[in-house]
Symmetry: C2
Amino acid sequence: MAEPYSPTARTRVTREPERAVYDRAAAYQVLDEGFICHVGFVVDNQPFVIPTGYGRSGDNLYIHGSAASRMLRNLDQGIAVCVTVTLLDGLVLARSIFNHSMNYRSVVVLGTAVAVEDSAEKLQALRALSEHILPGRWEESRQPNERELKATLVMRLPITEYSAKMRTGPPIDNEEDYSFLTWAGVVPLQMVAGSPINDPKLDPKTPVPSYVPSYSRTVAK
Amino acid sequence: MAEPYSPTARTRVTREPERAVYDRAAAYQVLDEGFICHVGFVVDNQPFVIPTGYGRSGDNLYIHGSAASRMLRNLDQGIAVCVTVTLLDGLVLARSIFNHSMNYRSVVVLGTAVAVEDSAEKLQALRALSEHILPGRWEESRQPNERELKATLVMRLPITEYSAKMRTGPPIDNEEDYSFLTWAGVVPLQMVAGSPINDPKLDPKTPVPSYVPSYSRTVAK
């Protein structure tokens, strides 16, 4: 997967270029750990940014269309989008305000998203999306019927033009600031799952499936 | 703060309107709990979505400009942006795939962002940003000097045209699906802070300030 990749003028990281990662495998690791993206699109010159779930299948991103009502008018021809996935790893506390930062990993994918119309591909895409968010859940759920498939919008975005950016490690202060007396370091941040809450309508004898209490995004897929 | 607010055609929530919240206080609660936004803007008809830190001061959002290099060419006149803040609260597991969902709170702010040029306002904005992310940190850090202030880009976006959307509670299944035998409920998700990691260059006798180990976003400001 670690194929070489040349960024375009649109995806070359111009600020803090030392944080850029142009490696498909590294980008996919970020895409696979996240499951919420922010989709940007333009209507009447106004940008919109909407959060939604996504899945990856090979070199395609599948974006759940629940966010997409405003995009609908353009769907036939596809629509220019930017899909951004951000994983926040920590607050970076430096001695100087200026050098405060965050540890994060993010991927930006540019391209044209098109609606998935074919029923078989749509079902496969929904499965990819579901398994991406919660592996194992698809098989244990009531599968989508024709009416539901029709009512669900899924968009496909090829992962062709993209960039990844990350920051890790301790703060970097100016040399003359290291004598400034304040705590400095990293406050790690992580998204964690709490104890599952039964649906009040659930038969309380129903066992909690193994993929629920062990839920974690950081396990490699 | 709970002033009435009429959404515009651009911010009226058209999908799942029952999830819409047009209340300034509710929107501000989301903005105050989050600290990473996704900023959308348009360059040559291509939308870009970039994560960055932000702060709120009254009815203005201040956006850190580290993300903004691609926006620079338009800064003099301001630039149309969409700033979206999303808090993810849980995975919602229904019996049917179709009714799977997420619990979340999100705010979308549309408008024109302008660069803060005035030194005093910029300093005040950076302070708002810093205190928004980590209350108490500003006073204990080495303050920005003139050179750093000049090198920092901060943008101001009035919170005028916005919408908020949220989903809470258990899954809602179709009546006929409640007999389907699978676990259903909510897996709560939360961003939590881990144990602080000292900068290797820090004098290990330096005490960890109280705002670090107790770090939490859910405490009301």
